[in-house]
């Protein structure tokens, strides 16, 4: 699974993109967030701000309940500020 990070989330986590092998018991975005948060404090500090984070699966907005698989591209980013 590819995970992409943008804006201040990218800076807090220290990378713009990473490849992970999705554990079998991680089946939703919500479970992925828990999994990452337990990896280290950088993730934890980002994901406690859950209300400020938007999520996309395969370049489409989704919610924390969305089901995911190892082939998906996930993105975490703040509310957008373009225009």
């Amino acid at each position: 699974m590819i995970i992409k990070y943008f804006s201040w989330i990218k800076e807090h986590i220290g990378k713009s993109e990473e490849l992970i092998e999705l554990p079998d018991d991680v089946k939703t975005i919500s479970e992925l967030i828990n999994y990452l948060s337990n990896l280290n404090d950088d993730y934890k500090k980002v994901f406690v701000k859950k209300d400020l984070i938007k999520i996309a699966v395969n370049k489409t907005y989704c919610s924390v309940e969305t089901k995911i698989s190892n082939n998906d591209e996930i993105a975490f980013f703040p509310p957008v500020t373009g225009g």
Partner: protein, 158 residues
């Protein structure tokens, strides 16, 4: 409303500046009477954080940006009788007074052009994955999103 209708749509994400005259001309054709366009410009001062802006850098999510803008434009031409639409958004480093975004809509009737251009801008502001960071010699600050942008988008009730 014909759900299958196709209109000329141009969507570009680019580092380079754009030429408003050229883009307006492209939207003019025989049966178009009205073109409404929006140009967003880098400001030299951020009132919310009371800080001078020396430059601004825009990043985006390649691929998703284009998809989201396409969806917004599609909703726009399914809702209003328009004859063409162009969205150009710049990325990279920009300076005060630089142009950031162009949204142009053509229509036979001016109110359709006004409404659909306004709609596209409101939705682009809340959906298209761009992020701005404002820079000056003392700091670099990611721009906070505007609650008022969410409110603006809601007025179209979709």
């Amino acid at each position: 409303m014909d759900q299958k209708k196709k209109i000329p749509v141009k969507i570009k994400i680019q580092i380079n500046d754009f030429d408003v005259s050229k883009e307006t001309k492209i939207l003019q054709e025989n049966q178009t009477g009205a073109i409404v366009s929006f140009v967003g410009v880098v400001r030299g001062f951020d009132e919310k954080i009371n800080s001078v802006i020396e430059s601004m850098t825009l990043e985006h999510y390649p691929g998703m940006t284009e998809l989201e803008i396409k969806k917004i434009v599609k909703q726009s031409y399914e809702r209003w009788d328009i004859t063409g639409a162009t969205v150009i958004h710049r990325i990279g480093k920009l300076l005060p007074t630089d142009q950031i975004v162009f949204v142009g809509v053509s229509s036979r009737h001016r109110q359709n052009a006004f409404d659909s251009c306004n709609f596209i801008m409101d939705w682009l502001k809340t959906k298209a994955p761009f992020w701005k960071v404002e820079e000056n010699e003392h700091q670099k600050k990611w721009v906070d999103y505007n609650l008022s942008d969410d409110e603006a988008a809601k007025k179209w009730s979709i």
